[in-house]
């Protein structure tokens, strides 16, 4: 084989790998994208039952129930609207009332969001950016004035 043919083959193989990888990435992205809803947005335009989404806000004071059978139920609020959440797993260590959290899962009924993951952070002063945004929009956020 001449050097030029060989180079052409190599470029061709590289192009196929690249195209394949891009195609695969686009295909994988389609299923893996999860949208975030604030409680206000859920109230305004409820997502479909069973659709996998993320919600977030502050854990409402006094709303956390720990049933003796395990798991937890709590309410997430952005000041303007609330979402009732049930979670079968074990709550993260930094989960507390008044704390900003993000939960991933789906609505099982219009009133109840069943979370498969609850994210609270390493850092007690951390506020998830989506939650901060949601709180800002509902007028609850005052973090900037405190600092």
């Amino acid at each position: 084989m001449r050097a030029r043919t060989q180079r052409l083959i190599m470029v061709g193989v590289a192009a196929i790998v690249l195209a394949g990888a891009i195609g695969l990435a686009l295909f994988a992205l389609r299923d893996a994208i999860v949208l975030f809803y604030s409680p206000t947005e859920v109230a305004a335009s409820p997502p479909a039952i069973g659709e996998r989404i993320r919600i977030g806000g502050l854990v409402e004071d006094g709303s956390v129930e720990l049933p003796s059978s395990g798991g937890a139920r709590f309410t997430v609020t952005d000041g303007a609207a609330t979402i009732r959440v049930s979670y079968a797993g074990s709550l993260p260590d930094l989960f507390r009332e008044g704390q900003g959290i993000v939960a991933e899962g789906a609505f099982v009924s219009p009133e109840l969001f069943e979370a498969s993951t609850v994210l609270a952070k390493h850092d007690e002063t951390y506020m998830p950016p989506e939650v901060e945004e949601a709180l800002r929009e509902s007028g609850v956020w005052q973090g900037d004035e405190d600092e």
């Binding site: 790998v17 990888a21 720990l66 003796s68 260590d93 390493h122």
Partner: protein
């Protein structure tokens, strides 16, 4: 006084970096003259200054001097001594000081050890490194100063995040940072080589040892982080495709590509431009990682307290690095020279395939990581990309890497090598692959597990054949090189196997148990025999005792740190060859009859030890490659 001295010393480090940059630049015409001596001495002095500043910050932590804001926010009087020291790099400002210390350390090391036979290139690299030091020390002094005083002095300190109170996490950031910052040497040498108009071979030879050491440290740092997530965070996993984790994985992939392509460039001049390009990208990726971790633009399970303004600083630094480096590359890359050329089934072609796959994986990870930012810029808010994307998009590429990997060592440089005798030899490796695949199917593995086992059988057989074929190499450097190749590649196979095995495990079981009650996890039965207090120096703790049938006892803890008002869990793990029994303790709950039940989370994670073994082998391989490289340098002139 100490904090003022520290503040002065980092400012001095900044000034000396300017001197290093300017005099190093002026010295390029006369690399053994006065200006060069000034540049080199500046780099040593900058190292001395920043090192003393770092020791002073540790001293402030030991003294619990809460008049310094950073100390007050990250330490506490009740904190054990070791963790007071580790808290020095536990927050943003201190970790940036560590970053700068390592950066000036690399500058001094370049001055002292790099390129004894090419002082012109060395002094240029020292000058470029001075520029990097200027950028990051500027960021430290003006936007992340750990020595700033606070007006109202707290009595006891805000405490450090208690989950950071852990030995693995105390050494994980420094190791990771040695990797991140070590890549700055490859960056400086590549940029210096482009400016000086050196050929691609000279640049590749100059930067390879630095890239090797940095990549080895990066491997160790990432592994320590994953290990910490596994047993300290108590989430039951070790890798979540989280932005912060991806931030360390991308430079790792690029550096892995770099250390392979540099071999080919040094050998035959091929991939000269590509090697220089990767060196520029690798350190830019490190900086991007720092940006993602510190700016908080992405929602991460590992997110730290955030500061968008600081994020902008780091983004600006990254733009200067990547933009400057790549424009230079665009204008000067024709000076790197053409390689000798290579055939379709030569060693170079396979190294090219390795590089293509590694960088495409890095690109895939980059797209998934930055997609939410991109979507936000386009007007859609609140999008996140799940782990499913990364698993689906990266796995086929990594599998292709493992298929090609064992063939490469049997191929000659430049010439075609995939002939009938190699095809015959390689067809023998299929047998262990088939056996491993059948075995995986026999024990009930999923299709992915069967494919992984078959692939591992094939690759390991190839590695064994490589070891056998080349067992007689005489040169010490070639022996070390062979060891490096076998160890690192076997490590990659072990990690791939471990990851697949772990993903096939059963999901965790959660139960609430009162004393005397039982739960089942896989083949094990757990019985809660009691819960007692197990308080430590600065926390209160409940410790559950669980009898495990068959054989053993597990004692997970739940700790409450009053200073931080935070609860953490200490998981309890029983490791065996077949896997880990992994148990953590959740909140207590009162039942209707008044009895207290404890939430227990348990899972069986198959063959987790493979991951640790794999990481260990890769690090050993990296060290062996560095040794091989050093031996090769001392024995220069020998035919190899």
């Amino acid at each position: 006084m100490i904090s003022e001295l520290g503040h002065f010393l980092i400012t001095l480090g900044l000034t000396l970096s300017v001197l290093q940059l300017v005099s190093g630049w002026l010295a390029a015409g006369n690399p053994t003259g006065m200006a060069a001596a000034i540049a080199r001495r500046s780099s040593y002095s900058a190292l001395a200054g920043v090192a003393v500043a770092f020791v002073l910050l540790i001293t402030l932590f030991l003294q619990s001097d809460f008049s310094v804001a950073y100390v007050a926010n990250h330490s506490h009087v009740d904190k054990p001594l070791f963790y007071k020291i580790a808290a020095t790099w536990g927050g943003h400002e201190g970790s940036m000081l560590l970053w700068c210390l390592l950066l000036v350390g690399v500058g001094a090391a370049l001055s002292r050890f790099a390129l004894k036979d090419d002082p012109a290139l060395r002094i240029r690299a020292v000058s470029i490194q001075g520029g990097l030091q200027l950028l990051f020390l500027g960021f430290l002094v003006f936007a992340s100063n750990p020595f700033m005083r606070e007006l109202d002095v707290p009595v006891s300190g805000a405490g450090l995040n208690p989950i950071l109170q852990d030995p693995a996490l105390a050494i994980h950031p420094p190791t990771l940072y040695i990797g991140y910052v070590g890549l700055s040497a490859a960056f400086s040498l590549a940029v210096a080589g482009l400016i000086e108009g050196r050929g691609g071979r000279a640049i590749a030879a100059a930067l390879r040892p630095w890239a090797l050491v940095a990549w080895t440290a990066l491997t160790a740092g990432i592994s320590l982080g994953a290990w910490w997530a596994y047993y300290e965070l108590g989430w039951g996993g070790w890798w979540f495709w989280d932005p912060v984790e991806n931030a360390s994985f991308m430079p790792w992939l690029i550096a892995a590509a770099l250390i392979h392509s540099a071999i080919a460039t040094e050998k035959s001049g091929n991939f000269a431009g590509w090697t220089a390009f990767l060196a520029i990208i690798a350190f830019s990726m490190s900086t991007l990682g720092a940006f993602l971790v510190r700016s908080g633009v992405l929602t991460s399970v590992h997110a730290f307290a955030l500061d968008p303004e600081r994020g902008l600083w780091i983004l600006a630094i990254m733009t200067i690095l990547a933009g400057g480096g790549l424009s230079l590359f665009a204008f000067r890359s024709q000076l790197l020279g053409q390689g000798d050329g290579f055939a379709l089934t030569s060693r170079e072609a396979f190294i090219g395939a390795n590089n293509l796959l590694l960088t495409v994986v890095a690109g895939t990870v980059l797209i998934g990581t930055l997609y939410p930012l991109l979507a936000t810029a386009l007007g859609a808010t609140g999008i996140s990309v799940g782990a499913a994307y990364f698993n689906l998009a990266a796995t086929p590429l990594l599998a292709a890497l493992l298929i090609l990997l064992p063939l490469a060592p049997f191929l000659p440089w430049k010439k075609n090598g995939l002939n009938r005798s190699l095809a015959l030899r390689a067809s023998v490796w299929i047998l262990p692959g088939v056996v491993a695949g059948v075995w995986a199917g026999w024990i009930g593995g999923s299709p992915v597990a069967i494919a992984a086992a078959a692939l591992a059988g094939w690759t390991l057989a190839g590695l064994a054949a490589d070891l056998w074929q080349h067992r007689t190499v005489a040169l010490a450097s070639a022996k070390a090189g062979l060891a490096a190749r076998i160890l690192a590649h076997a490590g990659v196979v072990a990690i791939a196997l471990g990851a697949v095995a772990d993903s096939t495990g059963e999901p965790e079981t959660v139960a609430t148990l009162a004393t005397g009650e039982r739960m089942n996890v896989g083949e094990y039965q757990l019985e809660l025999t009691g819960v007692r207090r197990a308080d430590g120096a600065n926390y209160l703790a409940d410790e559950a005792r669980l009898d495990v049938e068959p054989g053993g006892e597990l004692r997970p803890q739940r700790r409450f740190y009053a200073a931080a008002d935070t609860t953490t869990r200490e998981v309890s793990i029983r490791s065996g060859l077949d896997g880990d029994l992994y148990v953590s303790l959740g909140e207590p709950r009162a039942r209707d009859d008044g009895e207290i039940a404890y939430e227990i989370r348990a899972s069986f994670n198959p063959m987790v030890w493979l991951l640790g073994l794999g990481a260990f082998l890769i690090v050993l391989g990296g060290l062996a490659a560095s040794v091989s490289r050093a031996l090769d340098q001392t024995g220069r002139g020998d035919p190899s």
